[in-house]
């Protein structure tokens, strides 16, 4: 088939496809309008009735009280949960004391050497300076607490994840259970895992660690499975031909060749764990996360920034190290590891003799005061520049009054709740079919029965505003980078940087400019989700084959025509993936922003963590978040599938 033919058939396919799509869209839209009108005119439903609240909170609260009272006596604790808690806690403490035994200067030194070796001189110097800076701003001890907790989390994730990945690779029925579970675990905002574990274990590092493990587990399992599945068959045959047992083939041939993939999984797992640092501090993880939280509560933006920067440095160093190890080739790798090992032991011995394990106070210097000054200045000068009505304050008010509040009112009150459920079901029907429609309807009813209707609509409204803003910026930028390699290269490190930053840390600078409230949460979520929007748009457009470009051009299509008629339709599935990712990221961030005045479900969940009498409500909010996330995720995935061109026969 020539390229021209290909374009014609694709175009024909798209046209018939889009006619169907248009018909379905009109059908769906008119059904929604009729639904709203009917309920509006002939009934007086408003907010989901309070009396229908099944009151799940009360039994949860009772369970919580029972658990607290029986923590020392019941067999569930004495035989099962307490030993687990003690073992994990002992492990974290032990690791922390080992980490602290090494002399302080070994950390910047090892980081510098390691990054120099794997990434070059510049990265090495930056690594050395970065790690030293953590000590300089007096966050040394907190960093060790965080590092120990993270290391144990990642270790446990790996110890569980690699065998689970092997099991999923070996056994299709295991894979069929594991894969969707992992997808769901990673889709949920990490925040929701805190609540059930606080319920079971109370506050402390152990529930923090378990939540982190659950949130971070997915990539290492998935990539272990993928790595094993992509080992070249011929090497496996060669091993078999030498009479290797299955176990020998796995150990000597498959796993070593899957190693890069497994390391990539460990890297992603580490990054996900790092993104939980601040969130886990809500339930007593301690460390840097706690410094961020406490400073935010005291509106000490300076100290919060310092701790945030320490987290970012730690995340970037860990990221670079683990990708460095994952991509190193075996010859160089072995040599580098030997060198590093030698360097570490020399430094450790020297430090052990000198006993230099505290970061010297004489080197302390803090930039928090300057940040606080800048914050004050920003508040005084940027919030409302010269009382002109221009500034971050009026901007916040404008967005709140014109978009967020009206949308919230529309969703929670103006559209009657049965119509909202109807809309959800029509969308489900349109996107996939009756099963999804029923699922969405049930989930929305459940949200209502939990008594979380209004809060969920609040969160949904914030999410929608964030998603629209992100796509409005992200898609055009993605279109530009796909046509301009220079711009893409220039933007890449910036986008990478924003993706490496743990989500909560993003809130810190935004709050300095916009104070607390709904708007900083939405803005932080837009920043957080932008890289995904740009990346997937760029990816989708770049996947359009060059010959299709050329064919379209040979017909004399203008750039705009090419983009509208050929490239965007062909990239549509990737764009829908972008929408899916953006929605999930924004939802996660909006929930977190509940902590800084964002309101909605997030705030309710945080209250549940903070106050023991509100645990039940927090639990309900957590379930509502899970339901909302599932609805949005399924719906956008279904739309993405619909947009895929028919598969080749």
């Amino acid at each position: 088939m020539t390229a021209v033919d290909e374009v014609r058939t694709k175009a024909a396919g798209l046209r018939t496809g889009s006619e169907h799509r248009l018909a379905r869209f009109i059908l769906a839209a008119s059904t929604i309008v009729v639904l709203v009108l009917v309920f509006q005119l002939f009934t007086n439903f408003g907010i989901f009735p309070d009396s229908w609240d099944i009151g799940l909170a009360d039994p949860i609260d009772r369970a919580r009280r029972w658990l607290i009272n029986n923590q020392t006596s019941h067999w569930l604790y004495t035989v099962f949960l307490n030993p687990i808690t003690d073992a994990i806690d002992w492990g974290i403490r032990r690791l922390e004391s080992i980490l602290k035994w090494f002399p302080w200067f070994s950390y910047p030194l090892v980081t510098g050497l390691g990054l120099w070796w794997t990434r070059g001189r510049f990265a090495g110097a930056l690594g050395l300076a970065g790690v030293a800076l953590i000590g300089v701003i007096d966050l040394w001890a907190e960093s060790f607490a965080t590092l120990a907790l993270m290391s144990v989390s990642v270790l446990i994730s790996v110890v569980i994840g690699i065998p689970l990945g092997i099991a999923a690779w070996r056994n299709e029925s295991v894979a069929r259970v594991v894969r969707p579970t992992l997808d769901a675990m990673q889709t949920m905002p990490g925040f929701v895992y805190l609540i059930p574990f606080v319920l079971l274990f109370g506050f402390g590092r152990v529930p923090a660690l378990i939540s982190t493990v659950i949130f971070a587990l997915a990539p290492v399992v998935r990539l272990t499975e993928v790595g094993l599945r992509t080992v070249p068959q011929v090497t496996v045959e060669a091993s078999e031909m030498f009479g290797a047992t299955e176990r020998q083939t796995l150990r000597l041939v498959r796993l070593p060749q899957a190693r890069p993939a497994i390391f990539a999984g460990m890297n992603q797992t580490t990054m996900l764990a790092m993104s939980m640092v601040v969130i886990a501090a809500f339930i007593g993880a301690g460390g840097l996360g706690q410094v961020v939280l406490r400073s935010m509560q005291n509106i000490d933006v300076g100290r919060a920034s310092e701790a945030g920067i320490a987290i970012v440095i730690m995340a970037i160093v860990l990221d670079r190290f683990s990708t460095g190890i994952a991509t190193a080739d075996p010859g160089r790798d072995a040599r580098a590891m030997r060198w590093l090992g030698a360097a570490v032991s020399v430094v450790a011995v020297v430090g052990g003799i000198l006993g230099q394990n505290e970061f010297p106070e004489s080197l302390n210097w803090q930039f928090a005061p300057y940040v606080n000054d800048a914050t004050d200045w920003a508040r005084d000068n940027l919030y409302d520049i010269g009382d002109s009505g221009i500034g971050t304050g009026p901007f916040s008010d404008f967005v709140t009054l014109e978009f967020v509040t009206p949308l919230r009112e529309l969703l929670s009150a103006d559209i009657p709740w049965p119509a909202m459920i109807g809309i959800g079901m029509v969308l489900g029907l349109w996107a996939r079919g009756i099963r999804l429609a029923i699922g969405i309807g049930a989930a929305l009813f459940a949200i209502g029965f939990l008594g979380m209707w209004e809060l969920s609509m609040d969160t949904l409204a914030q999410t929608i505003v964030g998603v629209v803003a992100t796509l409005a910026i992200g898609i055009p930028v993605g279109i530009m980078t796909s046509h301009n390699d220079l711009l893409r290269t220039a933007l890449k490190p910036v986008l990478d940087f924003f993706q490496t930053i743990p989500s909560f840390v993003l809130l810190v600078p935004v709050i300095t400019l916009f104070h607390v409230g709904r708007i900083p949460g939405i803005i932080a979520s837009v920043i957080y989700a932008l890289p995904a929007a740009v990346h997937y748009t760029d990816l989708g457009l770049r996947r359009v084959p060059a010959e299709i470009h050329e064919a379209a051009e040979s017909f004399g299509a203008t750039r705009g025509q090419r983009l509208r008629r050929v490239e965007m339709p062909l990239a549509a599935p990737e764009l829908m993936v972008a929408v899916n990712q953006v929605i999930m990221l924004i939802l996660a961030m909006v929930v977190i922003a509940g902590l800084v005045g964002g309101g909605g479900l997030g705030l309710e969940a945080v209250r549940g963590l903070r106050r023991s009498d509100a645990v039940g409500r927090g639990f309900e909010a957590g379930i509502a978040i899970v339901l909302l996330a599932s609805i949005l995720d399924r719906l956008t995935r279904a739309f993405a599938d619909r947009l895929r061109p028919p598969a080749a026969v």
């Binding site: 060669a238 078999e240 290797a244 000597l252 060749q257």
Partner: protein, 347 residues
């Protein structure tokens, strides 16, 4: 059991391999003469190997030659039991693989057989020396001992000093030498070659072929060799099997294939074959049968390629005397016979 299969080191009897669900239906259709395409449209199953039998004697080089899709790769995997045949019997070194349990099969593979692969199948995460030592490692031989043995073999295949490199740092030809050394390291009686040289460029390929011939002269192992290159088959084989559509079309010595192609399919290959290079004086000579020879007539040995005997024939009308290893005349090579074979193969 007949004597041939008793003395044979590899014995294959009525082997079938059908990929897909409807194995018996597909086989029944094949037995009624249906082609692979017909069977596939009817049953959705692919008959890759249909009813193949052959024996390979100790020290023999048996080459299976076929084009891509002829089923030759599946056949060698059935014989080495990397793939379970749908039906039939495979015996290697007196053990029936098709009945063996996994422990027996494993022991047989550790002690008696080895395989060299088309795309080398080297382990990219292991140094060259550890690749070569792999077979010994899975047998549980100590590191010191297996490395010594691996070094020996690297010397044998001309790779001394390359042991500490990784396979991907070597050229294609060198990589396949590693593959060969790895197979030889376990001192196997039977060696399977799955198109080992087809990924190499022509000059390297010729070197590797020559080297394999030299090695085989020294080692005298039993080789089953798969190729799509007819010239390679002629060069290496004691016997050749031509395979098409899952079945053997003809089995015979290179000379038999060249001089008596079974059908047009085989003849198509022989047309471009370098007949004068492949055929040796002994294959076209007429036995002496007591006839006298003149001392004036030129003499060649039995193994002289035809192309080297040709100048003698072209120079005169006299026949050429063919002598055995003791230099005793055993036959006569006539210009007419040679001309007819060459012209027929060109025809």
């Amino acid at each position: 059991m007949d004597t041939a299969s008793q003395s044979a080191q590899v014995s294959v009897e009525g082997v079938w391999k059908v990929f897909g669900r409807k194995v018996s239906e597909a086989q029944a259709m094949a037995k009624n003469g249906a082609s692979r395409e017909e069977i596939q449209t009817a049953t959705g199953s692919v008959v890759a190997v249909r009813d193949i039998s052959f024996d390979v004697a100790p020290g023999e080089t048996f080459v299976v030659m076929g084009l891509s899709g002829s089923g030759k790769s599946t056949l060698i995997r059935c014989v080495s039991h990397l793939v379970e045949p749908s039906e039939g019997r495979v015996e290697v070194c007196g053990t029936e693989l098709t009945r063996a349990d996994s422990a027996t099969l494993r022991d047989l593979r550790r002690q008696k057989m080895a395989m060299v692969f088309q795309h080398f199948g080297l382990f990219p995460h292991r140094k060259v020396v550890d690749n070569v030592a792999y077979g010994l490692e899975v047998q549980g031989i100590e590191r010191q001992e297996r490395h010594e043995r691996a070094q020996e073999l690297l010397d044998t295949v001309g790779l001394e000093g390359w042991g500490d490199h990784y396979p991907q740092q070597l050229s294609g030809g060198m990589q396949q030498r590693v593959g060969l050394a790895r197979a030889l390291a376990v001192d196997p009686e039977v060696l399977f070659f799955d198109e080992p040289f087809s990924a190499l460029d022509p000059l390297i390929r010729r070197d590797m072929q020559d080297e394999l011939i030299d090695l085989q002269l020294k080692l005298q192992r039993t080789l089953v060799f798969i190729t799509h290159d007819f010239a390679e088959a002629l060069k290496l084989a004691d016997r050749i099997a031509i395979m098409n559509d899952g079945a053997f079309v003809q089995v015979g010595t290179p000379v038999e294939i060249l001089t008596e192609p079974a059908d047009d399919y085989v003849r198509a290959f022989t047309q471009d074959a370098p007949v004068a290079k492949v055929l040796q004086a002994c294959s076209l000579m007429q036995p002496l049968d007591g006839r006298g020879v003149s001392p004036d007539w030129p003499q060649v040995s039995e193994t002289t390629p035809l192309e080297d005997a040709l100048p003698h024939l072209l120079g005169s009308t006299n026949p050429v005397v063919v002598c055995d290893e003791q230099n005793t005349p055993v036959g006569l090579l006539q210009g007419d016979d040679v001309a007819s074979v060459i012209s027929e193969n060109r025809g």
